[in-house]
């Protein structure tokens, strides 16, 4: 097999601090290379150099033996390198078809022609996405599909997927893996970044592990086990098994006061008569397939969305009927919603990390002329940044400069600092590394132990099963099943979610 890509002694530094250094790594023709490592290890940055977003500070990047320096992603794409980003990167105001053909338009595009071509293209990939739909109307999973479709359409030979599976349901993941198989057969080379080590083990030919910006090991996948990867990633043995390795079931928390009650809540077509309750002192897990309306139900409860004005049902917070017009009203009453789409409404990317977290606290107060300083923001946010182990190249880093997993931790911290009594986590561990998942889970557990009412929305069954005391299953805008974790099995939950 020939090397299509080679990093030689490659280093990329930001403001003098290396995101990765002295990396020597090759990508061979027709192979799938999995890139794994903790949050902030430098995976995204390494691949962004290949995709033409950054230039190396020192060292060399070779494409088929020849040194290259891409000035832009467009140039990289012309040379056959396509990247599907960690954060979706589509133009929301355009249709799916337009996005797929973006950058490859003919001078005159006939709209109908484009739509038909996109339809065929999407079908050949087995993606159930409507080409005429606006991207802004799509959920995370479908956006991901459009991104993948776009990369495939550009006939790239080298594909980079930065955490492609984080937003996909199990079924969609299978599609995705099948797609990777197809690409491989066509002799394309693939770099695949993931925090799900099982995925790396199953679909990769080779695995490369980065730690603190250094390449620790790159070897054939068959020579790896989960333990070996984890050890290379964190530099020590991680004994604590994630996700219910413990056979003895943990104690189920007793339900406290009923904090939130949705009665027959309806919002357009997404939520149709949802009825559910959330209790203090325990974790309520919400499972459902994409489009089941879980996110919408909880966004309504948190005032982010509004239920229908007529026949919209009722919502009670601690027994008192409420109708939030804006999230602020919910925040004032101790309700916090931790978004699933951090880029959309989770972060202030142009602001520093301490400012992001502190703004959570700040927004709760009323006096507009209250005196605020950066020092105060640092002091107050420090506790949460430490607790979640947020890592950046320096303390003043802006959020846009953080790695994906660390950005996710900022979103969580921004809500935790509000000290809510009802907190809704929507896919809280998306893009977070194995160690940090455990930390965030621990944090969620201790919130419930401290008496808060906690809701966790997750599309990952093991996460639901290992966290929740009580499980709600949503389907087609309703809650169709409720069970305690003792009664729950994966099969039962899946059955309720599908049928």
């Amino acid at each position: 097999m020939t090397d299509v890509v080679e990093f030689r002694d490659a280093t990329k530094a930001f403001r003098g601090n290396p995101a990765f250094r002295n990396v020597n790594l090759t990508l061979r023709k027709g192979e799938v290379l999995a890139l794994v490592g903790e949050n902030g290890a430098g995976k995204s940055t390494l691949t962004k150099v290949l995709a033409g977003l950054y230039r190396l500070t020192s060292g060399e990047l070779r494409l088929e033996g020849a040194p290259v320096q891409f000035a832009s992603p467009a140039e990289a794409l012309r040379c056959g390198v396509a990247m599907v980003f960690q954060e979706t990167n589509l133009i929301p105001s355009m249709t799916v078809a337009q996005n797929i053909f973006l950058g490859a338009e003919n001078f005159f595009n006939r709209l109908r022609g484009v739509n038909i071509a996109a339809q065929q293209h999407l079908q050949s990939l087995n993606f159930p996405v409507e080409p005429t739909a606006l991207v802004s109307s799509l959920g995370a999973a479908k956006k991901q599909m459009v991104e993948i479709a776009r990369a495939v359409h550009h006939k790239a030979r080298i594909f980079i997927f930065d955490e492609p599976t984080a937003t996909l349901t199990p079924e969609e993941k299978q599609h995705f893996f099948a797609l990777i198989g197809t690409l491989k057969k066509q002799d394309a080379s693939i770099i695949f970044i993931s925090h799900a080590l099982e995925e790396a083990l199953t679909i990769a030919d080779r695995i490369a592990v980065l730690r603190d910006g250094q390449l620790i090991v790159a070897d054939d996948a068959k020579n790896f086990t989960r333990e070996r990867i984890v050890q290379a990633m964190v530099g020590r043995q991680l004994t604590a098994q994630l996700y219910g390795g413990e056979t003895a079931r943990r104690r189920v928390r007793k339900r406290g006061e009923k904090v939130l009650a949705l009665e027959n809540v309806t919002m357009g077509k997404a939520v149709r008569g949802a009825t559910l309750s959330v209790y203090a002192g325990q974790i309520t897990g919400m499972f459902g397939l994409v489009g089941a309306g879980r996110t919408e139900m909880m966004k309504i409860a948190a005032g982010v969305l509004k239920r229908d004005f007529w026949h919209g049902g009722r919502i009670k917070l601690r027994g008192e009927p409420v109708r939030f017009r804006v999230p602020r009203q919910a925040v004032e009453r101790g309700v916090a919603y931790v978004t699933e789409d951090r880029k959309l409404d989770g972060l202030f990317e142009s602001m520093r990390m301490a400012q992001n977290v502190f703004l959570g606290r700040l927004a709760m107060g009323a006096n507009p002329v209250a005196y605020v300083t950066m020092a105060e923001a640092r002091r107050q946010s420090e506790r949460w940044l430490d607790a979640l182990n947020v890592r950046a190249i320096d303390k003043n880093a802006k959020v846009i400069e953080l790695s994906g997993g660390n950005q996710q931790k900022i979103v969580v911290a921004k809500s935790l600092i509000q000290n809510p009594s009802l907190i809704i986590f929507d896919e809280p561990t998306r893009g977070v590394d194995v160690g940090a998942i455990a930390e965030i889970h621990h944090m969620i557990q201790s919130l419930a132990d401290a008496g808060a009412a906690v809701v966790v929305i997750s599309s990952y069954l093991p996460e639901i099963l290992s966290l929740s005391d009580r499980i709600l299953v949503a389907r087609q805008g309703r809650i169709v099943e409720e069970m305690t974790v003792d009664e729950a099995t994966e099969e039962k939950i899946m059955y309720a979610a599908v049928h």
């Binding site: 950054y54 467009a74 602020r328 300083t373 921004k414």
Partner: protein, 333 residues
């Protein structure tokens, strides 16, 4: 690159940001005018230079706050001329000027609040809301409040001249007012809840909303503030000219404000920029306008020059800060 000469590094630091570029351009323009125009670098001219742009600078302060919060207020000039003119008309009907001024201020405040409410509750894009509001305010004013374009300061109010015409320790009160308002605005933006939330709204309004920032109150406050700032600027203007001319509404003044904002480096997308950017932009525009006036450049040419400078600043900025490195958002196409 360890052996970069110091000067090169300084140059790249200066030219590495729009602020730096504008600073260099302003300094260059200053030196060129100072060498080429005998009357330019005299203390008298410099003071009058700063004084002449103080009003523009004050207006830009109000605009800056709105723009940082991801809005824009093109109704400022209308609010300014109508509220001040109306105050003068009222005073001439027999009320003491001080009371009339309070009424004028209240009018500006109400206008700002209504504009803000239209944007906050009606979800109207700020540019359209304020464009429409501007012509409504102006139209109302010219129809119901006053008919003459030119409204003189009511006679017998010498104290009113103080703001626009007198000096304290040799510094024109106008300039002092600009400085004080700059300090206030700087404090408000950097050290108060209001300011931090303003930056947050500019950075990502969706996040600000979900986090619990009182968006509607904030938006209304922004436009109320800019209307009040416009009123103050109008008073200073009227005081120094002994009159206010409603024609200003049809002048290029609103574009000059935006020129100051953009040149100074306050991104029109919101969330970026500080008060020092307003000061920088004001001074640069001041040098430019003053130099051209001394040179007797015709008015239309002056506008052309302003336009070209604006364009250059934007192009230069995108050349020096290509969108691929640190500034990039994960590679937008």
């Amino acid at each position: 690159m360890t052996n970069t000469p110091r000067s090169r590094r300084l140059a790249s630091r200066l030219l590495g940001s729009q602020e730096g570029i504008v600073f260099v351009l302003a300094a260059t323009a200053f030196v060129v005018f100072a060498l080429a125009l005998p009357g330019f670098a005299t203390p008298g001219n410099l003071v009058s230079l700063v004084r002449s742009v103080s009003v523009l600078g004050i207006l830009a302060l109000g605009m800056a706050i709105v723009v940082i919060g991801r809005g824009i207020d093109v109704a400022m000039i209308a609010t300014m001329v109508v509220s001040v003119s109306w105050a003068f008309v009222i005073a001439r009907t027999g009320y003491p000027l001080a009371e009339a001024l309070v009424i004028g201020g209240a009018f500006a405040l109400v206008a700002g609040i209504l504009i803000g409410a239209l944007i906050a509750y009606g979800d109207v894009p700020p540019i359209f809301a304020t464009l429409a509001a501007g012509s409504i305010i102006y139209g109302l004013g010219r129809t119901f409040f006053f008919t003459l374009e030119m409204q003189n300061v009511p006679p017998g109010n010498d104290w009113f001249d103080f703001i626009g015409k007198s000096r304290v320790l040799g510094v024109p009160v106008t300039v002092i007012a600009f400085a004080v308002l700059c300090a206030l605005a700087h404090f408000a933006l950097t050290s108060t809840r209001f300011g931090w939330q303003t930056y947050a709204m500019g950075s990502n309004p969706n996040t600000a909303r979900t986090t619990g920032v009182p968006m509607r109150a904030m938006v209304i406050a922004h436009y109320a503030l800019s209307a009040l700032v416009a009123y103050v600027a109008g008073l200073i203007l009227a005081s120094s000219a002994s009159a206010i001319n409603a024609r200003l509404y049809n002048s290029t003044m609103i574009y000059d404000i935006l020129l100051v904002i953009v040149l100074g480096g306050i991104g029109l997308n919101g969330g970026a920029g500080r008060i020092r950017n307003v000061v920088l932009g004001t001074i640069f525009v001041g040098i430019l306008l003053n130099g051209m006036t001394i040179l007797d450049v015709p008015f239309t040419i002056q506008n052309l020059v302003k336009g070209v400078v604006l364009l250059l600043a934007i192009v230069f900025d995108s050349l020096v800060n290509p969108r691929d490195e640190q500034t990039s958002q994960q590679g937008d196409l």
